[in-house]
Symmetry: D2
Subunit: 411 residues, 4 copies
């Protein structure tokens, strides 16, 4: 029987777990040691540590404390791992807890986190997704059921001291260009809610002040939110400290490319089954800066798509220069308008794009001044036919089902 | 036998063809009329109208006249098509000419066009790709042979007068923000090299001064360079003028997502076999602004990938805010460095990313301040194994094969 | 939390479970009732009820009591199900028990069961397969690791009295044509080892004498051993008795088309998560005689194959008339000879064909006198390259690992 | 430009072509020589040499002269090929002739050829399929359009003298077991209609009496009718004579597994583009008896199936012993009955199973006494939804379109 080397208790606070941390720092002590060739399981809280509940009230999304996230399980040390190695991680499986057969998706309020389409969806909303074996469906977003492309949103090794400094420096420089912006340009170190795992209190206090936030993806991987880095994939992680120090969390039952809804994919607590090996000196051997990976042989096969194009002219008619973000935003908005013709609310459509295995392709980046991005919507996830035909769309949904919204509180 | 309604002569100049045009304008006369339900073939020059030759000298790429491109075949009128309709186009097939079994890929000089990685590859280079039935290989980029995912880089209907004005206005506004930039921020109307098809000389003269350049993708589709809009796909185009006015050109034998090399994909002359139908009032029925499409059931199945991540910190260590372009550029550079370990030159690796059916995914766009983009490199196109292993890479290529480069001419 | 309506205890005999049966009979009492729309879990013993052990001794395979199999969990009644309906079953998931992370494959002795290639492998052998998350590998068959295409080998509804009689009659007629044959032509009712679930002892005694053996697939589905009827698939079963009476067992972690090794696939104990619905009168509506199904959207994607042909001339040179069995046997033997060139023993190769997601296609059935069958061997399951090349094969295995064999006992 | 080394004239008789033959014999002279590494095109008549016409009258199918088939283009010699080598053939492409954009499918009369379901469809019928670029549809079988999985039904090298004798001996032995059977058990040599290519008349006369008929697949490949040996695949053929002597014909635009309709797939004239290489001594190196091949990377992706099961109890209720042919026949009949519920005639449904990219899997061959075979019907080829639902099927077709039938002529 495979050993579970990190266990969590969903009923306890993340801060009560010493095998969990929420900042990146080279000195966080390993909570377990494994050998190359070993396989083992790790349990994870959801990324917010239980802040979001399985109910019909979005105020928890509105009031979320984003300085706490993400709660990661680890770090796990690998014997013999040294800076410059590649840590080869086979994601052998990922699963849910019997007692927690659900996940959440939401949009943060523009006042607290915001998101990709916060101009259009400025207030907090959420949808709850039930897990039906390998499939999921939502009482808040009717008409779809699809198989989960389960993956860890966040996984990677501890940074070295030098790398940490580089992160903090460059992000601070960006932040400082517009320090009053809401949402902020970058999430800087924030000691108050830092959880430094098993560091001794005095050390933790110092480290908390400089520990990098877990929000952005960085050289080590981290919060990449790559939906295809899923169970069955094989990942090659750069190693920066002795032992590697692999941490993982932010499990997603399913997500669309871009994780456009920010809060986030279908977020869940669960476990992940890993096997580790080393390629000694692999970073130099293969010129690796960021992780590389091979996709899983076992992923949901939704091969029929309706593909929406977007160009880098924004919804106000303004021309941007080769901006893929703007182009993808337009593709998303185009898809949302399309889905509304079948009876979805805008919020439901947005939620679908954030949760279903939607692909986002960078289709053209050189044809000045317009980038072209495409959003690939799988048609087989719908219980009805969403393809165009000469008669026009049928409104399958009557609008009776809505997505919880929590209005901003006027201050 | 299917009728070829537009024929071209590869030995003649594009300007000698009155069934070709290189600007978008509502008044360009239809060169043929078809009925809904009809299928027909259209022949196309390559996008440059034959400026690039099948040889080992890149000076033609360096000296290309980019004000001439793209040469499009059309417009084709569809009986009954009216503004607001959707023109449903089945791309039944695309093929090459027996006498022209090759295509080209290249990087423009930063002085004349530039491209996605022109900071790293500032001078003109090119590679020639031979077609071996459904497959292609290059004497300039050894070690690969892959099946073509053949598609039109550019296809769409004529804009209305209002739409044309909107295009010209917004692009001029952008251009004017930095009018001396090289390369320019936008390609503005340019009468001198305009080819207005069958317009009467006087009308053409006026129209040429306002005809939109074909470079960027826009609301009507146009130069989207979407590799998956390939033979076998079904596309729904917005109609803006009576008869629709469908034009097509810029055929690609194969291309990677982003068409990062700009010059371009594997560019070819050839023919396209289309079938057209109408959804009356379809734009309103389905809330369509940009074209949507369904991918083909018959595409090359390169399902094993090595996936490279990139984040929006540029190669100089500067932090950008959620910028997918920067992130994708890093993913591309990471892949290039990796391929160099197997013996490719940087230029060859870059060319591969521009020509092979590489996927570019928008993987994360909300995790401030870093976007994450992924580049999916199909492993089965290589004649050798490019996957990582504990022993490190084998240098399969000895560097004896190089890609033609034409140095900039000092002025 | 999904309810587990049938639980098993791997430490107890199958005969001690009253929610298990090993014969088909219309009067076996339902062990649970569910409603249309419900989902629930069912636990299953392995098909032999634990006769085969996780060790390196094949005598258990040699000495297996085949009159006991298969041990099925059920029957489950569905409220409102009536003869003539279709029972729609979504296989939401299938999983293993934490304490039983292994499965077995074997060949029966020709003296006790035999199998597809028993002329070549007449004695009992077995291999043990460890489960590594979604993947499996074997200490007896080195060089492969592959993802499981998990499925129930046996699932279906109780037969009606008339159907049972028809089964018994036609199978007896076949048996009687060669009653002394070893192995027998058909497995006839056999009361001694019958387990009739919750039937009252007196009724069970009568029913045991006529209860159909579970070995063959029949109109109701039953022991179809279809590898693609896997988790995620949707199956439409004919209903013959009030309540339907769905039973399931013989779970397989993976299997090749044909289940050519008979003992069997990778056989396992585990659980299955189902959801049921009804199509009233569906048998007549859709002219259904045997079950039909839709494959899962989530299956291992082993898309690169080496395909072996076989024709209906047997290994002794004898010409058979359009006999697909002979043709498939030749394709299998061809694949085995091929794999031996890489260092596998014949038995290991045979075991691979029985366990890996090998496809067997009926390629030609009309070109007299030869049928053509093809065996599709996925190349990506191997840790080394098994494709042909000009240099000839490399012997990756040195023969030091062998498969346990238990010689027949001379009587 | 690739050279076409064998050209045909569709307006002339096959017998007027000296680069065509219709029997297998080691002494048929090569019609062209190529070198390893060469690629070239070969044109082919349809397998009947033009006996079946593009019209609505099935009498040509009824009256076909089956002693003439198949007309093969070749043999092509490869320099350096010797017995024992493997001839590696890349099928680079296959195409149609501009002037022949159609193919035929039919059922032979039981009096003249018969077929897999001739008990149910005893009289000659045919359907004509138009080619729409990569797609095909039929005026005789409404409601479907699908992409062609184009392949040669027949391809292989010349047999050696010894192999030829073995073929003739074993087939004669089978024939002699029931010499008066209609249709015959085997197609024996038949000099009268033999076409021995460029053999000198006297030699041809002798050879014609012993030349093997092209009907069955054999060790060399030959008439395998494997739908997946399609353009883009790579095939390894055993070589038996100096130069190899590769011949090819019987091109199919599309076919279902089994080619159950016998006349046949969607049969067409066209061309094939090949590249050849050698593995010296490859037969021994890889233990090759029959050809092996790798499937194409570019095939139609019809991944959603409705799967029908069949067992080896025939339609009269008779129990057969592990007979895959009977099982597949039942799966086919089950699919036909199902399709009739949507408005198809039995003949149209049968034609569909013979022409569309239907899969036939050998699902179980050991569960005595029943084999299980499955027929995989792709759902995306239909213009309407053929999946089951609670309301029952909609009859999309009104029966107004029928398939031509030519009644047997009473003698």
């Amino acid at each position: 029987m495979t050993e579970t080397i990190i266990k969590v208790d969903l009923k306890k606070s993340a801060y009560e777990h010493d095998n969990i941390h929420n900042r990146w720092h080279p000195d966080i002590p390993m909570v377990a040691m494994v050998k190359p060739g070993d396989d083992f399981k790790i349990e994870c809280l959801d990324w917010t540590g239980g802040q979001i509940k399985n109910n019909d009230d979005a105020s928890d999304v509105r009031d979320v404390d984003l300085t706490q996230v993400h709660f990661l399980s680890g770090p796990v040390g690998v014997e013999g791992a040294e800076p410059g190695d590649l840590l080869v991680v086979d994601i052998l499986d990922i699963g849910t807890f019997d007692e927690s057969q659900w996940g959440f998706n939401g949009f943060f309020s523009k006042q607290n986190g915001g998101g990709f389409l916060d101009e259009h969806f400025p207030e907090a909303q959420k949808s709850i997704w039930d897990f039906n074996g390998m499939f999921t469906s939502s009482r808040h977003v009717p008409g779809v059921e699809f198989a989960g492309l389960i993956h860890p949103g966040l996984i990677g090794c501890l940074p070295s001291k030098e790398m940490l400094e580089e992160w903090n420096t460059r992000e601070k420089e960006l932040y400082d260009t517009e320090p009053d912006r809401v949402p902020a340009l970058a999430a800087l170190p924030y000691a108050e809610t830092a959880h430094m795992g098993r560091m001794k209190p005095d050390d933790a206090k110092v480290a908390a002040a400089e520990g990098a936030r877990t929000v952005p993806p960085r050289e080590h991987g981290g919060n990449c939110d790559i939906k295809d880095l899923s169970r069955g994939s094989k990942v090659y992680f750069p190693v920066y400290v002795e032992g590697g120090g692999l941490s993982v969390g932010d499990l997603h039952f399913s997500q669309g490319d871009g994780e456009i809804t920010f809060c986030g994919a279908i977020e869940m607590a669960g476990w992940i089954h890993l096997r580790v090996n080393l390629i000694k000196g692999g970073m130099e051997k293969y010129a690796i800066k960021n992780p590389i990976f091979k996709p899983s042989p076992i992923t949901p096969k939704y091969d029929d798509y309706l593909i929406f194009e977007g160009i880098s002219v924004d919804e106000h008619g303004k021309q941007h220069y080769l901006d893929v973000n703007v182009a993808y935003r337009q593709a998303c908005l185009n898809a949302i308008e399309y889905l509304k013709k079948f009876g979805y609310s805008g919020a439901q459509a947005y939620s679908l794009l954030g949760t279903a295995p939607v692909q986002g392709h960078i289709s053209g980046v050189v044809d000045i001044p317009n980038s072209c991005a495409t959003l690939w919507l799988p048609t087989d996830i719908f219980e009805f036919d969403i393809k165009p035909n000469a008669d026009g769309p049928t409104k399958f949904l009557d609008g009776s089902v809505t997505m919880p919204l929590a209005p901003d509180i006027k201050k």
